[in-house]
């Protein structure tokens, strides 16, 4: 599945889930004996909806899960896959762990930095790409590997990456 989180300025006054996400939220809550257990699925839903977890969104999650707000903030920072800042339409996550690294991930990452003009954790001004180093993506047999949003691209080199970037608009 491929979700393209929109990099739009988020409404800072997020107060409630949009009607379109209600079903998902209720579904997530229904899986657990208490609401607090659903905090991670709720954050996923929120990230799918808004692209990143802004403080108002985290407050909404806290209200929904009946958890203290600081605790929800702590949870969101604990996991690396929750975006606490806005990300581009295409979130490029380059695996830097040993297999990919041996196969040239560092070179690939430097290439991306040069090509996009951004560093780790940064977003291109047009909001198209966000570049990030990540740890093992469990594609050690086919490194270097890069995850773009939720899709894996394996056995990459500079040329393949360039070709890939062309297709991501």
């Amino acid at each position: 599945m491929s979700h393209a989180p929109a990099v739009t300025a988020i409404d800072p006054e997020v107060r409630d889930w949009p009607a379109s996400r209600r079903v998902e939220v209720d579904e997530a809550l229904s899986h657990y004996p208490n609401r607090r257990s659903a905090v991670l699925p709720l954050m996923w839903i929120a990230q799918r909806e808004w692209g990143w977890l802004s403080p108002p969104v985290l407050r909404l999650v806290a209200r929904t899960a009946e958890l203290p707000e600081p605790e929800v903030f702590g949870i969101a920072t604990f996991y690396t896959m929750f975006n606490l800042r806005p990300v581009g339409r295409h979130h490029l996550q380059v695996c830097m762990t040993i297999s990919c690294s041996l196969m040239g991930a560092d070179r690939l990452f430097r290439h991306l930095e040069r090509k996009l003009g951004i560093g780790h954790g940064e977003t291109t001004p047009d909001g198209r790409f966000t570049l990030r180093r990540v740890e093992c993506l469990a594609a050690c047999g086919r490194g270097p590997c890069m995850q773009v949003n939720f899709d894996y691209h394996e056995n990459l080199d500079e040329a393949r990456v360039d070709a890939l970037l062309e297709t991501l608009t």
Binding site: P55, E66, P68, E69, P70, V72, F73, G74, F78
Partner: protein
């Protein structure tokens, strides 16, 4: 499984109860096991690993008996790895080694890890000198570091006006997070990130949204959290530390004042000391600033030619005495009245009423600083079990069911609130909060029941609860007079069916029945009440209702009392015990009781008036009408706290003599004829009695500010000038007289009151009075019901003097339910005008779903809120008309 276990720690064998943690067992055996993350009030976590020890258990043979070696001693199987003592529970026959090479090496290793990223900024760090990490690094650590990589660093941040965070120093013991969560119930702190990047902070690094108690700073074993008000003020070795009793609420917490020179620089709790131990609320921790204030009075003032002029102490005493004598001679002793005294020490309260009764012959004494009606002192005693042994604040945390009647503990009694939060969190305590507003403890996260009764329906609520409790049967252990009175009580409350109560109070019938059932069924329970009930116009009735509820639910029994009165000031209980009420002598002896009066008359060598005196509101009226000509007001901004501002002004103007004992030249003091500058709590010794009726001796931390004296010296000087021969040299002398004379206090001595005195009880408890509570008349007039209450950050005029507390309290706001605000056309921050029968008050509005519709909540403790300008309450309360202020202005927060 045996109830106790024999454990051998470093060769010391001790017997401790099963379920004891090894750290506690080691403390009992006097063996030092270092700890960081473990805390006596928090469940074990095992985060820091510094407490690692070697643990072994006796090997058991096939028969289940301990295997013996050839010498006949049990064989010990040592666990292959060291264990954390703070998470290991003792077992019978357990062997522990804390100083073996294994344990020492392990501890050194843990220490090295803790220090990997810890900065070497001890000289700058405020914790330096009292830092557990520093001490333990000195004791167990290596003197060099193998770490030559750069340390991970964080940016330091101010988490609000109280807490300074320096995350580099943090060892992630999680004490602050857990304390905030489990004891304060605030959840303001959390761990961000993970692993080596873990950092304690707030939601989105915002200033902490919490009670600002600073307990996170207190429990931090390193310098990661330090107090901004104390920042770089001193090093621990500069400070003389004196443990005394906090001068704010009735919980009677021990505060450890750190004094450098003549200045109090900080206040802290102390582990294993006092009722509160390490806990302090924001007032206790930061409310000492007034002591150092430069505006303190330093010379007695006497009115001459229209203005107050400084004068010598003796001249002021002579002036006051001469005028008192004149007034008493011209208008009779009934023309003299004595007000205030809740904030006095026990000895001073005693001398104050002795001055009134034995020297001037008047029973017009009333200790209260804030009053609306007569305080029935005897009814308070009876409602709390008639002097039977009372449960303690610690017991409160072990109760199964706690009913809080009408008090917002956050403002009135923060430590009791912390005890309840902890009990709820850790021991399955259930809370029932009866309060018109959704106060902190009534919030859903504490999983209690909120009985949101309509203001003014207190009596109905009590009657309904009594009836529902009686439905559950007759409790055991009732004294015979109560057992005999129960049928009549049953009859008196028969009409208060749950349905009828629901109609009268707005509390669902089911909730009333459930609350009564929980109270009646709990093995240990507690009922708390405070000034919402004692300051009610129908207080005597309501207190009888509370007493009836106590007997009906089993909270009161022949042997003990589980009903606690939380007075408004730190020595309200002591003032009550010492007879600073118009109708009782010390020890709850009615003034009309000739036999009871006798020992006092003998000791005091005086004939005491037998007619009960006037209570504070009556004194106010009598003074305004010229029937009382001389007033002595102690430690109280009376003009601001009397129920009717205009009447109070009139009273002060009409009196021939107004004597004020104060720390500052308050508005009331400005209108006095004589002002005596007196000592603050930190400058005098004496006993205070908290809400558990516990006697504690408050120590003197600093010398009296130049020109000030303890209140009792002023009373004695005036009494002597009036011709009596009092010769108390110290407050202890006064206490000796109390201990000879006053029931409940007999035989006590100062020496037994430190560090923690006993809770007093009467040998012969007062007889019970059962009955239904009667409804007070609803307040006259139109408008919204004015709800008022204490705030956490302020209490009394002294708390306005500091810089920090008023800043934390922010500006007062008139809180309205959003629906109510919509009806009035008021938005958040709009200025509104509250109009009472006598005047108006203008405040910014705040929308608050926790305030019930049909009412407006205004905190009374703010300096800018003078509720008594609105007029005195009529009937059961006060109604005010709220409207948007004429000019459409927005008042800033």
């Amino acid at each position: 499984m045996s109830a106790t276990c024999k454990v051998t720690i470093d060769g010391h064998t001790i017997e401790v109860p099963a379920g004891t943690l090894l750290t506690d067992a080691a403390r009992a055996a006097d063996v030092h096991v270092p700890i960081f993350c473990s805390h006596q009030k928090l469940p074990p976590l095992g985060a820091c690993r510094i407490c690692v020890v070697e643990v072994g258990l006796p090997r058991r043979g096939p028969d289940g008996k301990p295997a013996l070696d050839s010498a006949g001693t049990p064989v010990v199987t040592w666990m292959p790895k060291p264990q954390t003592a703070c998470t290991t529970y003792v077992a019978d026959g357990m062997q522990v080694r804390t100083t073996s090479p294994e344990a020492v090496t392990a501890r050194k290793g843990v220490m090295e890890f803790l220090l990997v990223n810890h900065p070497l900024d001890c000289p700058v760090c405020d914790e330096g000198g009292e830092c557990q990490l520093q001490d333990l690094a000195f004791a167990f650590g290596a003197d060099f570091s193998r770490m030559d990589e750069a340390k991970r660093t964080f940016v330091s941040e101010d988490l609000g006006p109280v807490v300074k965070k320096e995350a580099n120093r943090c060892i992630v013991c999680m004490r602050c997070v857990r304390y905030c969560d489990e004891i304060m119930g605030d959840d303001a702190l959390t761990a961000h990130q993970r692993g080596v990047r873990t950092e304690i902070s707030s939601f989105d690094r915002q200033p902490l949204d919490c009670e600002q108690c600073g307990n996170c700073i207190e429990v931090c074993p390193v310098g990661a959290l330090t107090a901004l008000p104390y920042r770089f003020k001193a090093r621990p070795w500069d400070l003389r530390q004196h443990i005394t009793v906090c001068p704010y609420c009735a919980n009677g917490c021990s505060v450890r004042l750190g004094v450098r020179g003549m200045e109090i620089l900080r206040a802290r709790g102390t582990e294993h000391r006092g009722v509160n131990q390490e806990y302090l609320c924001v007032r206790g921790r930061f409310g000492y600033e007034f002591v150092n204030d430069a505006e303190r009075l330093s010379s007695p003032l006497v009115r001459s030619g229209g203005s107050l002029t400084p004068t010598g102490f003796d001249a002021a005493v002579d002036f006051a005495a001469a005028r008192l004598r004149e007034v008493a001679a011209a208008h009779g002793p009934g023309a003299v009245a004595f007000l205030g005294g809740e904030k006095l020490n026990l000895e001073e309260a005693y001398l104050y009423q002795k001055l009134a009764r034995a020297v001037l012959g008047t029973n017009h004494v009333d200790a209260r600083t804030r009053f609306t009606a007569r305080l029935p002192g005897e009814a308070v005693l009876r409602a709390t079990g008639g002097g039977r042994p009372l449960l303690s604040l610690e017991d409160l945390g072990h109760a199964e069911e706690v009913l809080v009647l009408g008090d917002d503990l956050q403002g009135e009694s923060p430590f009791a609130q912390a005890v309840l939060v902890r009990g709820q969190h850790q021991a399955g305590l259930h809370l029932t909060i009866a309060h018109p507003r959704r106060v902190k403890l009534a919030r859903p996260k504490f999983r209690g029941e909120w009985l949101a009764y309509r203001p003014g329906s207190e009596a109905a609520l009590l009657n309904g609860l009594v009836r529902a409790a009686l439905e559950r049967g007759t409790p055991d252990g009732l004294p015979s007079d109560v057992a005999a009175g129960l049928p009549a009580l049953r009859q008196a409350v028969a009409e208060w069916t749950p349905a009828r109560t629901e109609q009268a109070t707005g509390v669902p019938a089911r909730a009333i029945e459930a609350a009564a059932a929980r109270l009646a069924q709990a093995r240990r329970r507690a009922i708390l009440f405070g000034r919402a009930f004692t300051e009610h116009p129908a207080a005597a009735d309501l207190l009888r209702g509370i007493e009836s509820l106590g007997w009906a639910s089993g909270a009161l029994s022949a042997a003990r009392s589980e009903v606690m009165y939380i007075g408004p000031q730190h020595d309200s209980q002591g003032a009550l015990d010492m007879g600073l009420v118009p109708d009782l002598l010390p020890g709850y002896v009615p003034v009309g009781d000739a036999a009871g009066r006798k020992p006092f008359e003998q000791q005091w060598a005086a004939t005491l008036p037998a007619e009960p005196g006037l209570s504070a509101p009556e004194i106010l009226r009598a003074a305004a009408e010229g029937r009382i000509r001389a007033l002595w007001i102690v430690g109280d901004e009376w003009l601001r706290s009397a129920p009717d501002r205009a009447l109070a002004e009139q009273a002060l103007a009409a009196c021939d003599l107004v004597v004020v004992s104060e720390l500052f030249l308050t508005e009331t003091a400005r209108r006095a004829h004589v002002v005596f500058p007196v000592c603050s709590f930190a400058e005098k010794e004496g006993v205070v009695v908290n809400c558990e009726r516990r006697l504690q001796r408050a120590a003197r931390a600093i010398a009296p500010k130049r020109g000030t004296r303890p209140d009792w010296e002023v009373f004695q000087a005036v009494a002597r000038a009036l011709g009596v021969r009092w010769s108390f040299r110290t407050a202890e002398d006064v206490f000796r007289e109390i201990a000879r004379l006053v029931p409940g206090y007999r035989g006590r001595s100062w020496a037994t009151l430190v560090p923690l005195g006993p809770q007093w009880a009467l040998e012969a408890p007062a007889a019970a009075t059962l009955g239904a509570a009667r409804e007070g008349a609803p307040p006259a007039g139109e408008g919204l019901w004015l709800l008022s209450g204490g705030t956490l950050f302020l209490q009394g005029s002294l708390s306005h003097r500091g810089r920090l507390l008023p800043k934390l309290a922010k500006a007062a706001r008139a809180r309205l339910h959003p629906a109510e605000a919509r009806r009035l056309g008021v938005a958040e921050g709009d200025a509104v005008e509250l109009a009472g029968p006598a005047g108006t008050l203008r405040l910014p509005a705040a929308l608050d779903v926790e305030v019930p519709e049909g009412s407006v909540f205004v905190p009374y403790a703010h300096a800018e809120v003078e509720l008594n300008r609105l007029g005195a309450p009529a009937g059961a309360g006060l109604k005010v008309v709220v409207r948007p202020a004429r000019v459409a202005e927005r008042v800033g927060a």
